[in-house]
């Protein structure tokens, strides 16, 4: 049973509770198969993607609001992306991203070389890239929800070339935050 101590300042809020990280991992692992079985047509990947992405969106909205308190205001898109990459990643998966690239025209590529969701997974050789992709849909939703709450409309795609690396491509609709 693994147990990661919560990082400060999250452990000091009155509502912080210690949670076994094994249970958290198991919950994330069970989420895609659950959504597959909940949809009326299990082979319809679009519906499963939509469901997972919406759940992630809602979670991202809440997380970004809750953990952005007392931070200096993020005035441009790059600062918001950096918040997502460092703080949000740290909250969800206990580490920061390993690489961020941008083309300065609204596209950002986020690379995580040891993505927590994949760390303890093993795959048979050559089987089921589709299955692995399902586990990335929920994190995509989280990123999309967090960005949306902070004022940035974006689409997020994820792919994995080899196991535990995950690459997220964030395409923002506008280069600057939209007028309020």
């Amino acid at each position: 049973m693994s147990f990661d101590a919560p990082l400060p300042p999250y452990s000091t809020t009155p509502s912080a509770a210690h949670l076994s990280s094994t249970l958290y991992d198991l919950l994330l692992i069970e989420l895609p198969p659950l959504c597959t079985s909940l949809s009326p047509d299990p082979s319809d990947l679009e519906a499963v993607y939509h469901r997972l992405s919406s759940i992630g969106h809602r979670v991202g909205l809440g997380l970004s609001e809750k953990f952005s308190r007392d931070r200096p205001r993020m005035v441009d898109t790059l600062e918001v992306i950096k918040f997502v990459c460092k703080e949000l990643w740290g909250i969800c998966w206990g580490k920061m991203v390993d690489g961020l690239k941008t083309n300065h025209r609204g596209t950002y590529v986020v690379t995580d070389n040891r993505f927590k969701v994949f760390e303890r997974m093993s795959t048979e050789r050559g089987v089921g890239v589709v299955d692995q992709a399902q586990y990335l849909w929920f994190p995509c939703g989280i990123i999309r929800g967090a960005l949306a709450n902070l004022g940035i409309e974006a689409t997020v795609h994820a792919e994995t070339t080899e196991m535990p690396i995950a690459v997220f491509k964030i395409e923002t609709v506008q280069a600057k935050p939209p007028p309020l």
């Binding site: 809602r58 970004s64 609001e65 952005s68 308190r69 309020l180």
Partner: protein, 142 residues
């Protein structure tokens, strides 16, 4: 007797929650004592100050923007969350620290409301418990 008008505005300048109360200090009974003709002006005053809020929010790094506007003796203070939700308080006396504490506590209540899976951003807050808690916070600080 000083009175306060508090409103939470969503990202599209839509009101999510509003409340009026009077001061609880120095024997005040907590009932707002706005003059009748001024009561309906409160909403206009709050709305008019939004332009100023939007202007200064890019220069100011903190969430609490202190007093942003003044209208014939009524001061408007603002607190801005990262998700661009605005908390506005119309008041007559200047008391930065008390108002800052009030805003911080209401922000905690708002975040808890957001965590509710049945509540989505920009939806009006109708929970009577939220209302009751806001009034308790007002009693504590104002």
């Amino acid at each position: 007797m000083s009175s306060f008008y508090f409103v939470i505005l969503g990202t599209k300048d839509n009101p999510l929650y509003e409340a009026e109360f009077g001061t609880f200090k120095q024997g005040g009974d907590g009932v707002s004592r706005f003059r009748e003709e001024q009561r309906h002006m409160n909403q206009f005053i709050a709305h008019a100050s939004l332009d100023i809020v939007e202007e200064i929010q890019w220069n100011n790094q903190s969430m609490y923007l202190k007093v942003v506007d003044k209208f014939y003796g009524v001061l408007v203070s603002c607190f801005l969350t990262a998700g661009n939700i605005k908390f506005l308080l119309l008041h007559e006396v200047k008391s930065e620290d008390a108002i800052r504490n009030f805003f911080t506590d209401v922000y905690d209540l708002y975040t808890k409301t957001l965590m509710n899976p049945f509540y989505s951003v920009n939806q009006t807050i109708t929970s009577p418990i939220f209302d009751q808690r806001v009034k308790q916070v007002a009693k504590k600080y104002l």
